[in-house]
Symmetry: C2
Amino acid sequence: MNAEKIPNIIITRLPVYLRALQRMADNGLKTTSSQEMGDRVGISAAQIRKDISQFGEFGKQGTGYSIDYLIDKLREILKVDRMWDVIIVGAGDMGHALARYQGFANRGFNVVMIFDNDKNKIGQKIGDFTIEDTANLVERVKAADIKIAMLTLPASVAQGITDKLVEAGVRAILNYAPISLSVPENVKVQHIDPATHLQRMTYYL
Amino acid sequence: MNAEKIPNIIITRLPVYLRALQRMADNGLKTTSSQEMGDRVGISAAQIRKDISQFGEFGKQGTGYSIDYLIDKLREILKVDRMWDVIIVGAGDMGHALARYQGFANRGFNVVMIFDNDKNKIGQKIGDFTIEDTANLVERVKAADIKIAMLTLPASVAQGITDKLVEAGVRAILNYAPISLSVPENVKVQHIDPATHLQRMTYYL
DNA sequence: GCGATTTTGTACAATTAGGCACAAATCTGG
DNA sequence: CCAGATTTGTGCCTAATTGTACAAAATCGC
């Protein structure tokens, strides 16, 4: 693997390639080309070749890429060739939906705990999970060595909980709260806000 | 307003600025600076000034920006100075969560219909909505002149429904299905896939 | 076996995006 | 009213990203 620093913009595309490849594998396909991948994900073939070649020479001229092999390599690069324990903070509708979502398991993630600060919710069950008190968040996260959290809270409390997560050692936060979170440089945040995403399209209507 | 084409990357940042400004306004603030906005959203002040200046001279030297005025301008630019009717296709957990979400109203969106193809779900209520049959999707969307849809379906049926939405005149799709959708050039898609977003962070762990 | 075809990886060119720095305008506090 | 501080909008430069094109390798059809 090339030891130079890989631009983040390339890293953001790799999971999209991986998802498309896993779908091809599910359909029984064995090989693909940068052209076919590009058609599927809406990215130029040259871009895909260049992105992949940052990490090694995984393709074969005339043939393309072995789907299974490329999946293995991408999973390794993205560090999802293992299972990551993930917590959910916020047991509202979105927290419930994520807790029940079946799509994490085969993509490297395993939800292990759910927290809320609402006394009426604490102790209730969501599937196999019992909603825990955010008062115990730092202690529980530290003890279980959790590195990834999904935040499904109102904006008003999101930054406060984020600070606790950082204190507890969390290094990656998927934020569903409609607010920009402030974190130290060694912590990554991804934002999911449906209204923001919709507003990125209305400009073009 | 500058008549030249505005890069998409700038458009993607505007909703983040708008969200931060609305939050400031809710907190009773009247003016802000590119510096303060930048601190809040994690973007350089120069970048914010340059982005905003693409659309006009909305700031005042020495003072900064009037929050209310800038909100009005951004809403106008993003075309969310009006209400957009939006439909949800897929009445699973995610569809339910979006249907009940209270955060759309003050950001320009109004959910008006929910569809599913599951005979057991059709006719059921989610709040004030009755789940409708996707068999009537094209007809209903055309009649109501809907331009925006949120897709909360399994990957296996997402492309088929997308084709129907496009046929019905939908021009913006917020896709929660874990698959890249193929659409004509005049239709916009934004993807929300929690596993993909998480995989964009594990690389750095 | 061999010419035609496919496809990768990459060098080079072109384009796009971002950072810096400063003149000009405005405000603030005597 | 004035000196010092603040803050915008932008010209210029650098960095980052994407596109083009092609040699080299591999396959395919006969």
